[in-house]
């Protein structure tokens, strides 16, 4: 019996969300006594053995042509085959772009119950019940999984990473099984930006900034905080900022430790994408902006004055 964790590799690097999923698996394995096994597919520059320090006991590394590194259906078949061989009862993915492709395909092959967007350890007192985020972050649902094999995707930033003592043995095997029917033509990398869904801090701005030329101060603040940039829907729709920065109900949903909203009124559709943030700071000159109701800290003031001061204050703290 085992718990199988999918190790997400992007551009040769192991993702932080994978450390969260391994930590989740390690806590579960401590209760069930099952072996915690990791599966990595594709070229990886990082040291896989080091993942033992998060609790993995064994790692299966499946080699793959480096030019075709994006996850594909073949990967799901390989994961399912490994799960059968290792008698895995629970398979864990991050609720990331890769997880959204692979988890349902793997669950289908294993005829497993699938719960995505999980935010807590299962309650095992009466079956296997997990909590997941629903209604765009406005509520949670407790879901019982009824099948002997289970597939979970864990929401990024929802489970703490824990360091442990341990090493994992890595076995290398070749990718087998039918060729993927989807032919990869090209891969375009977005340069070095932190993926929004995984950023610990997100700085976001809205129409209150009046125009795209005013984003410099927002970028400086984000740079000082090592934060990812985001924006509201009207800003993306007006092409002031790229669409992938749009957070909200119909954009990206995020749950960072800190969300800083500048010149965003906080319409319900925007809140739906950010209300799982641990701490929300709102900077808006309108004291009636609905966002203040959802905020932990607020400044009623002119963004053009407050934001540069914010950056300066951070610099000062860092210098001292």
């Amino acid at each position: 019996m085992s718990i199988l964790v999918y190790i997400d590799i992007a551009n040769g690097k192991i993702k932080k969300s994978t450390q969260e999923v391994i930590s989740y698996g390690a806590d579960l394995s401590a209760i069930t006594g099952e072996k915690l096994i990791g599966v990595a597919i594709g070229n990886c520059q990082d040291q896989l053995e080091e993942l033992g320090s998060f609790g993995l006991q064994e790692i299966v590394h499946i080699g793959k042509d480096s030019n075709r590194n994006a996850p594909a259906e073949t990967d799901a078949w390989a994961i399912a085959t490994l799960a059968i061989e290792k008698k895995s009862t629970t398979l864990l993915f991050s609720h990331s772009l890769s997880g959204k492709l692979l988890a349902p395909l793997t669950a289908s092959r294993l005829k497993a119950g699938l719960v995505s967007g999980v935010i807590s350890q299962p309650d095992l007192t009466d079956g296997f019940i997990v909590k997941r985020s629903v209604f765009s972050g406005k509520a949670f649902a407790k879901v019982a999984i009824k099948t002997p094999t289970r597939v979970l995707t864990i929401n990024p930033n929802s489970y703490p990473v824990k360091q442990r003592n341990g090493t994992a043995e890595v076995t290398n095997i070749a990718l087998e099984g039918p060729a993927s029917r989807v032919k990869s033509i090209s891969i375009e990398k977005t340069s070095g930006e932190l993926p929004l869904t995984e950023a610990g801090i997100v700085v976001s701005a809205g129409r209150g900034l009046k125009g795209p030329e005013n984003w410099g101060m927002v970028e400086q603040l984000a740079g000082e905080l090592h934060a990812a940039l985001a924006c509201s829907r009207p800003v993306a729709d007006a092409h002031w900022r790229p669409h992938h920065e749009h957070v909200g109900q119909t954009g990206v949903a995020i749950a960072p430790n800190l969300y800083i909203a500048i010149g965003i009124s906080g319409a319900i559709q925007h809140l739906a994408g950010v209300n799982r943030s641990k701490v929300i700071v709102v900077i808006n000159k309108d004291p009636e902006a609905p966002f203040f109701k959802a905020a932990d800290y607020g400044i009623v003031g002119d963004a053009f004055e407050v934001v540069p001061q914010f950056t300066a204050a951070l610099k000062k703290v860092k210098a001292s």
Partner: protein, 247 residues
């Protein structure tokens, strides 16, 4: 070419989220229902565009829901599509929904099954992949662009750290997101035409129960905002560092 677009009925984006029956049921009191935006704006509109470019395409819509889903499927038909199928059952879980749609997709020999990337109520992002699994068709997730040349589709999809352009022969299952198309507003002619388009009601096939929602929970209310004067930004930095411990 035959296209099947999956449509889900969801509460309006501004709906108040509350629960009844000891937090086991969504409180539908006063809730406005809409076509799930991801299904409507991206999956459906792109399918309509494909049909506009090639009128020989057959475009069907499908939903899993009880009769209260009829107005929603008619709303979707007002945008376009030849006819709709409703599987007469409550969409209790994603595996159930996927099995129902997969059965129709196989029986009807559809060449392209399109879903939105997720619904705004369950946020699962799983149904497309599960349909692909059940039908044993290739699956392309989170597509931002889809072009057709005969039986070959060229699709751009979002992957970790970038995007991938891929090519696939039909039949295929694709989940659609932002970028695929621009949202449309139905016109009067579309709304009138939707009234008389065929809506076929089909009874569900039997499936196993995979998961079951036991209870809902609302997040703990925020304790209220702590306001800081605009000339006290250093105090905000101190609070974020010492009190909230997030920087």
């Amino acid at each position: 070419m035959k296209i099947l677009v999956c449509i889900s009925k969801t509460p309006d984006t501004t709906a108040k989220i509350a629960f009844t029956d000891n937090n086991t049921k969504f409180d539908t009191n006063g809730v406005q229902w809409i076509v799930n935006p991801w299904d409507e704006w991206f999956a459906l509109v792109r399918a309509i565009e494909l049909k506009e470019a090639d009128p020989s395409i057959t475009l069907h819509l499908i939903t899993v829901g009880e009769s209260d889903a009829d107005p929603i499927i008619r709303k979707a038909l007002a945008l376009g599509g030849d006819e709709a199928i409703r599987i007469n059952a409550s969409p209790a879980e994603s595996q159930f929904v996927a099995h129902q749609i997969a059965a129709i997709a196989k029986e009807g020999n559809y060449d392209l099954v399109l879903t939105g990337k997720e619904t705004i109520d369950h946020n699962g992002s799983t149904v497309g992949g599960l349909i692909a699994g059940e039908t044993e068709l290739p699956y392309i997730s989170l597509a931002t662009k889809l072009d057709r040349q005969g039986n070959t589709l060229t699709i751009t999809r979002e992957i970790e750290g970038g995007q991938e352009v891929c090519e696939v022969e039909i039949p295929v299952v694709v989940s659609a997101q932002k970028g695929m198309a621009e949202a449309r507003i139905p016109n009067m002619r579309g709304i009138m035409a939707a009234r008389t388009k065929p809506l076929k009601v089909v009874e569900p096939i039997a499936t196993n129960e995979y998961t079951q929602v036991i209870q809902f929970e609302l997040p703990a209310p925020k304790s209220g905002v702590k306001l800081i004067a605009p000339d006290q930004v250093e105090e905000l930095v101190r609070l974020l560092h010492e009190e909230a411990k997030v920087i």
